[in-house]
């Protein structure tokens, strides 16, 4: 009996260490088809990915896949691709939008996806983590996450300058 109590106490004492580790790196299941064909390529697939949760907003680059809180409900998490960093000009159907300071522009790889095209640029503070690679199922190991990186959303401003000059 005494041995069991000791074992339980030992397990509990390691709990904070496990929680801290889970805050740095974690595994998560991807739901939905907004990142098709990169993640969950068909209805049968459910991908599990490794997330880097440590300092998620640092060294963010275009075409990184990130996990972030929905701006309309902090309990809902979204997984999308970064298509623009601050001050980038983003091409939309009817107009171009400049991403404000400290914000990013996110889009799903699938055209039918609820993302910045619906709710606008999101603050960097909402970012939770970055998707590193797929761990499950095994046949999806080593998938290149940047193979199909969505549409080309950025307006090339050098071209635009040239265009204005020629006018």
């Amino acid at each position: 009996m005494k041995r069991y109590t000791k074992l339980v106490l030992l397990t509990i004492s390691w709990l904070p260490v496990a929680m801290t580790t889970a805050e740095l790196v974690n595994i998560s299941k991807i739901n939905g088809k907004s990142m098709r064909p990169t993640l969950n390529p068909s209805d049968k697939d459910t991908d599990w990915v490794i997330l880097k949760l440590f300092r998620p907003a640092k060294n963010l680059q275009r075409n990184d896949i990130i996990l972030f809180k929905s701006p309309f409900d902090p309990k809902i998490l979204f997984c999308k691709r970064v298509k623009g960093l601050d001050k980038d000009l983003i091409r939309l159907e009817h107009e171009n939008i400049r991403v404000p300071r400290g914000h990013i522009w996110v889009e799903g790889d699938n055209v039918h996806s609820v993302d910045s095209r619906t709710f606008g640029p999101i603050s960097k503070g909402l970012i939770l983590g970055k998707v590193k690679c797929i761990v499950w199922p095994p046949r999806r190991w080593g998938t290149d996450l940047n193979k199909w990186a969505g549409r080309d959303a950025m307006v090339n401003e050098d071209d635009k300058m040239h265009f204005i000059d020629s006018e």
């Binding site: 309309f72 902090p74 603050s123």
Partner: protein
Amino acid sequence: MSLKLARSTFTTGLKCFCLLHEIHRNVYEFTETAGESMIPTLSPQNDYVHVYKNLPHILKNLKIGDCVVLMKPNDSDSRVCKRITGMPDDIILVDPSNENNPNATNEYIRVPKGHVWVTGDNLSMSLDSRSYNVVSMGLIVGKVIAANNLNDKKRWLGFRFIENNYLKEEN
């Protein structure tokens, strides 16, 4: 023997560090504040706040008038302390004192779902929702429950609770 001692020191240190980190992240934090935006609730210097950080609990019980710590929407590295003055679906008069905007007394906004309107208590010296618009609830980090001002000699360590000072207008 010394190896065993070193090992147990290391594991105990690791466990204590992680426990403190978890408490700091999910339950309670004690930090210094600076800036004029929350006068008279918080003084501009030498004021220390006790922040409650259990997010699910805070977000469930969020009320107008609560003093919260949130990440600045346009700079996620810095955090600010403001008071909630508008909850989802409230209609807000943006900033009637703005002299640059001729339409200022007539500009209203409806706070969208999952967002809040925050302002500092010192409206003339505060950068808040009036300039950066509504803030998503996901940016809230914690709720200020109490503060210590070391310059205040009247109370012990200048301790006082930060209360919800929102008064509902009586009909």
